[in-house]
């Protein structure tokens, strides 16, 4: 992340800007491909162009001269910390995608076990017990008040 010459490049920030930029351009092109009529582009086109201008204004902020002040501004995250966040994000996305496939009960139980472990619970008995009880309570609790049935495999 840090260059020896004192130029600090935030690659993560650049990646975020690239994602936003690609999303905005793709949306603008899709909107223009749908129709060029004002009824379609009245708000979308000016807003997309404004977003691109703002991205161009923010990009220089990804390149900063490193100074002792900025280095000590924020507590440093280790790669291990970031890996934990990444693993939790992966588990969370899997939960969202697997609910319909393996059922709410199995997906929830599986996510709870993995997430509790990632968050630091090393007592497996407590981990499995809490995950099981929480899953059952949530499925029957939410199931009683919402009008849609949950796809289930075991419960």
């Amino acid at each position: 992340m840090t260059r020896p010459q004192g130029l600090r490049i935030s690659f993560g920030h650049l990646a975020l800007l690239a994602v936003i930029c690609i999303a905005v351009i793709a949306y603008l092109l899709d909107a223009r491909a749908t129709s060029l009529k004002p009824n379609n582009l009245l708000l979308v086109q000016p807003a997309a162009l404004l977003a691109l201008v703002l991205i161009a204004m923010v990009i220089p902020q990804c390149f900063r001269r490193a100074s002792p002040d900025t280095e000590t501004d924020k507590p440093k995250e280790t790669w291990g910390d970031l890996a934990k966040v990444g693993a939790l994000i992966a588990a969370f996305i899997s939960l969202a995608l697997m609910l319909d496939v393996v059922g709410f009960d199995l997906a929830t139980f599986g996510f709870m076990v993995v997430a509790l472990f990632l968050c630091g619970e090393r007592n497996w008995l407590l981990n499995l017990g809490y995950s099981a009880v929480f899953t059952v309570l949530l499925i029957y609790g939410y199931g009683a008040i919402i009008p849609f049935p949950f796809p289930l495999t075991v419960l």
Partner: protein, 506 residues
Amino acid sequence: MIDFGALDAAFALLSSSWTAWVFVLPGLIIGLFFGAMPGISITMAMAIFLPMTLYMDFLPAIIFLTAIYTGAGFGGSVPAVLMNIPGTSSALATTFDGYPMARQGRHNEALGLALTASVLGCLASYILLLVLIAPVSHVVLKMGPLELFVIAVWGLLLLGSLSGNSLPRGLLAGVFGVLLGTIGMNTAGFIRGTMGVPWLLDGIPTIPAMMGLLAASQLLGLINTSYLIEDEGLRKISMPKILSGVKMAVKEPKIIIRGTLIGVIVGSIPGVGSSISNLLSYSEAQRTSDDGESFGKGNPKGVIAAEAANSSSEGGAMATMLALGIPGGGATAILLAAFAMHNIVGGPSFIAQNKDIVYAIIFSNFAQAMLLFFVGLGFVYLAGYVVRVPLRFLIPSVLVVSVFGSYAIDGSASGPITLAVFSVLGWAMVRYDYPVAATVVGLLLGRLLEGNLLRSYQVSGGKLSYALERPGALFILALLVLSIVLSVISRARKKRRLSVRDAAES
């Protein structure tokens, strides 16, 4: 303005029947419980219990539903303070200072502040409703698309106050939110940005997106922390501290009155309502406050302003519903459905012929607001225990509850998928100092903004001179410009004052 004969009849109606009162307490508790559950909206809570009202008389039925409405209105602010999850979109501004207060160990005070501001805002709004129900109906009928567009732009310009340290990042977050908010089929029938996904035709589901951006993103970032409040001594649940929050709120009558006025006025406009009023009130409190720079970092005034406005919007929305028969949002639409179930048609004729019932509904709402204070005290005391739960249990549990809540909205995978995508986006935005709240506001306003701009364009035939024919829009525009000018002046003054103070200290 007030019909005293009808007032007398309303008292007689309420005092002669115990059935009018028996449903108030259950309604409040149901509302608090449902409002505090992420993903379960006020509308859903009322919709679930709507069929039950079929077996009640008309007045108890409406009182029961309005009690749910009142309870859920405050319930949404409990997770907003404790977990940064606005239970409803109208509790968004409550998260700005409520959650930082909770992280600093001042969760007791924040909950006390929110409860008191809610109760006082709700009471004041019904007093205003009692007096103003007739004039409000005249004004609301004159609102056209241009006026609604200008109000939405006003809401959007609040992004300036939400932009944090970097203005371009704040504006980018807001404009990106607006663009995301316009995805799907617009009012002219054009379909954009759906990538062939059928459920995106109606646009990005806003509640899961909001939960992802604001709550799940924060939780993902907390994985390396042990407790929501790191200092063990500050984790205590304390009734005296909750009551000190109550006292703090009572000492800020100006913010409550201003929030109430904004709430009632904005709340009475159909389609706009409490989701914007809390932001307007928050930004006004920030602009006019001496310590405006500490807003967003745990300033109690931010919580008071947001809660006073969102709870008083209920009174405004009820005014439009009772006076015109136009529901301002989902909750009042359900009330109107309850009217229809009892063969009663809301609107001007209902008010003219049944003023006693209208006043009885208003009086029962006074009682509900007062009762909410005591029920709410017990509720927040119990809810406050969440800060004592280790984060290794809280993070996975709240993430899963958010997923269930997002599924509960329409019973499809669209909610959970939206939640997951936006939680990753929100986590990345928070990491690089983007105000995610600006994206949420943009997302909420995008559709409203485009729809009303389009209608104004169609009505005017593309002529700018049309704006001159709409004095209401010009008046709101003048207010908007005035608020921006005042905001710039007060920011400059504050900067000058701070630099003078810094110079004196050094």
